[in-house]
Amino acid sequence: MSETIVRAEKLTKLFILKTGFFKSLTSRQTLAVHAVDGIDIDVRKGEILGLVGESGSGKTTTGRLLLRLIDPTEGKIFFHNKDITKLNENEMRVLRRKMQIVFQDPYSSLNPRMTIGDIVAEPVRILEQRTPKDTEDLVKKALDDVELHPPDEFFFRYPHELSGGQRQRVATARAFVLNPEFVVADEPVSMLDVSIRAEILDLMIALKEKHNTAFLYITHDLALARHLCDRIAVMYLGKIMERGDVDQVVTEPLHPYTMALLEAVPVPDPAVKRSETVLKGEIPSPVNPPAGCRFHTRCPSYIGEICRTKEPQLLDVGNGHMVACHLYPKK
């Protein structure tokens, strides 16, 4: 097994809701959104870990916590076995060059007033002392890596001159310019046209292999995750429900939620008839998550009292396939 780059233990993030002045007089209770609730996660060198779930399941928050873009309420984050949870901004800055992010929307993540050259050079300027000539070479190499040819021509262009796919390449170049060890990609292709998604994904795989990066890929598309990732973790309401190798999770899903997610993926083949049973309802509010197993309110395999009262632990059911469900005994 390759080396673990980033690891988190009991990671928790609560977003406290603001209450009005009068409400604060009548009630002392504070309400909080349980975005991420005590999860353990690790990302290893040279692998892509897919974090899958519906909107509001806490995927993006987890990504941002691991990069310490936001501070966890509880729990610890380790980078190369060093606890980085309590580092201050100056100490963090040294590590920032090793951890980067590609955002979802390439239309709003690039500053429209900066040239492509400046955008990609920004992390270099902020995090390293280099001569302008040196920086320029580095940027051009990064643009070349993401197949924006020729780099000289793109260097002085502005984001509005580029297509969506090209913009996402620029965002990828910016993330990889400093040769990071850990990259979070937050749904990088969901805003792009189908015909060019594969290109961007191929590019990410190529860069990951070249730099041997640890990759966290956040998505709601299981079909896509299956083609891309080495391991998958399925999240629901701030908890990890199932985790394992991609083939374990996709071909032998154990958790009812994973099964429902797989069942909901449309199949591009009219001969395949899907069952007409679709999970009912929508994800409950994370302000007041259901007691016991968080999925029990929608679960088709609900087995009774225990699901409502006792929270299932994430347990190994063989070969590193972890699942949090009362249906499965520990092996």
Partner: protein, 319 residues
Amino acid sequence: MSLLEVNQLKTYFKIMRGYVKAVDNISFTLEKGEAIGLAGESGCGKTTTALSILRILPSNGEIKEGSIMFSGMNITKISDEKMRRDVRWKGISIVFQGAMNAFNPVYRVGDQLVEAIMLHENVKKSEAEARGKKLLELVGIEPSRFSNYPHEFSGGMKQRALIAMAISSNPSILIADEPGTALDVIVQAQILKLLRELKKNLNLSMILITHDLSIIAETCEKTAIMYAGKVVEYGSVFEIFREPQHPYTIGLLAAFPNIKAAKTRMKAIPGFPPDLLDPPPGCRFHPRCKYAMDICKYKEPALIPDNKGRSVACHLMNK
């Protein structure tokens, strides 16, 4: 006679530099109770086709040529008044893309439903309200949510309510523009299931506009694959998904992950769609096509039907 016949429709947008040929000579037919999927990349003219059918194009858009026959009348020729009174909503209605923003946030959902019903039908307010509640029930929303505001609905519920509004005057054709995008997988599956049920129970005809081929595979009987304002392949979904003929269709299908099939590498289609102000001569796909021949560069391929009722516009078919 088919319910809807689109014949050689050309819709252009006039801009300072000339005409943008958004829809350029497309034809298809739709029968009662049938669903057709219009698929293609952004900017291929899918939505413009829908807007042309309803005649709600932006002011610089214009139907240049062609006819749209809806139950025997050419709706490109009838007066605005007749269009508004008899065709829109009662004959053909649309569920727009982006359910999140389609409702007016300062009116109750129920009032917006009632408004739609009273505009098109000669009924009393109380009747309209009763019908609105029934419609909500039909699409799977508790009638008690009738007087909620749009912000109290989740994304999936807003999409459902919009569908309820679209079918409020019993149209024979429902156009759904990207009904799945911006929704989660599970909610998307719920909405598609609802559309399939409505189609079956109300004998609705549907035009489904999407870039997601798998949604078409699950919902429609036939499909028209569009590229740069043209239909490149047209026929039954079974034929086209099993044996795609046009290089563009093959490319689109290969760019798609299939969760049920063996794990394969997804392949992108190189390049990007052309500028429709000045599309390439010959076959519009030739600059991106890996099978392009000399003839593709100057001669436009016609959409030729084969004996199984499928049509393909590609010079390779003559070989």
